[in-house]
Symmetry: C2
Subunit: 210 residues, 2 copies
Amino acid sequence: MDFNKRQLEIIDIVKEDGPITGDEIAGRLNLSRATIRPDLAILTMVNVLGARPKVGYFYTGKSELSVFSQKVKSIKVKDTMSLPVVMDENSSIYDVIVGLFLENMSSVFITNEGYLAGVVSRKDLLRTAMGKIDLNTTPVGLIMTRMPNIIYVEQEDSVLDAAIKIEERGVDSLPVVKIQKNDPTKLKVVGRFTKTNVNRIFVELARENM
Amino acid sequence: MDFNKRQLEIIDIVKEDGPITGDEIAGRLNLSRATIRPDLAILTMVNVLGARPKVGYFYTGKSELSVFSQKVKSIKVKDTMSLPVVMDENSSIYDVIVGLFLENMSSVFITNEGYLAGVVSRKDLLRTAMGKIDLNTTPVGLIMTRMPNIIYVEQEDSVLDAAIKIEERGVDSLPVVKIQKNDPTKLKVVGRFTKTNVNRIFVELARENM
């Protein structure tokens, strides 16, 4: 959004001297209150300025990207997550590698009695395949990253929170879990949220206006 | 951005009957032109409506996300790309796997006489490590994806174009190349653009207003 010269002047005045009334702003610009009314309406609507009755206009510090920001916070993980690939902790490493290729995944979530127990990535599997372990007889449980060291998200989390976890923890994918009410240590895997999902949301939001 | 009831009514009128003049819109709403002037100013400013002299207002079909969209198109690959990991086509598969672990990459770009010749991913390497090939004596050139089947971007491309390529071609990372002027088939690898970069841009843009 491009602001015109007068709107930019108003922003500067409010930044410096806010809170300030509409009449005072008009006075500074040698204009009537009526003349700048549309400008003030626009600036408050896009949240660059805030207005409080009997106080005046103040600078919010918000940029024009706030619409995007709000939108991203309103999209939930469950709206965009993918199906998880889940295998049991007793599966052989070989079977997990085959499963990973069949489903074309970068990681597989590992469960014990149906609940999340670990995660194993392509990188873990490549490291193991280079070693001396017998892939056919060794259970994946021996090489996976284990709970409680697994970063996960819940269905109601925003995609922004999920993307922040991916960024800060340096992982490619997050299990989406449902925490069991009677035992919060038990996590049911209901989905998968990855950088691929973030990339897709990014493209869709940016394309919405092409 | 939340439009008020009157603004939504105006959008509906213009959607249905545009192009339409401000006076006509005011007449439909039984209001004066002056009353709806701020609403029209806001709606044109955020690009939901367009205005053409002597024609009137028309609906642009653009949503409120256009600011984000413009921003994303203005960010170039060179502004956010990472350093590439490049190895020669004659390197052994074993050395490439070691390089990939040392640099913690999901793929390595392979060159021949300094120019892009191929790409090899963790997935390619895992598949190979599971097979019967001698990793120490086999050159990576034998198992990599070869030019011209490599999707790449240039430094001046927008991050949106890069994200679209990642999405549509189902890849994790793109080499950023400089095309040699005297021979457009020769590509110098100058960077790497991955889903990790997209995730970071997504988080930064969305956080700008938190």
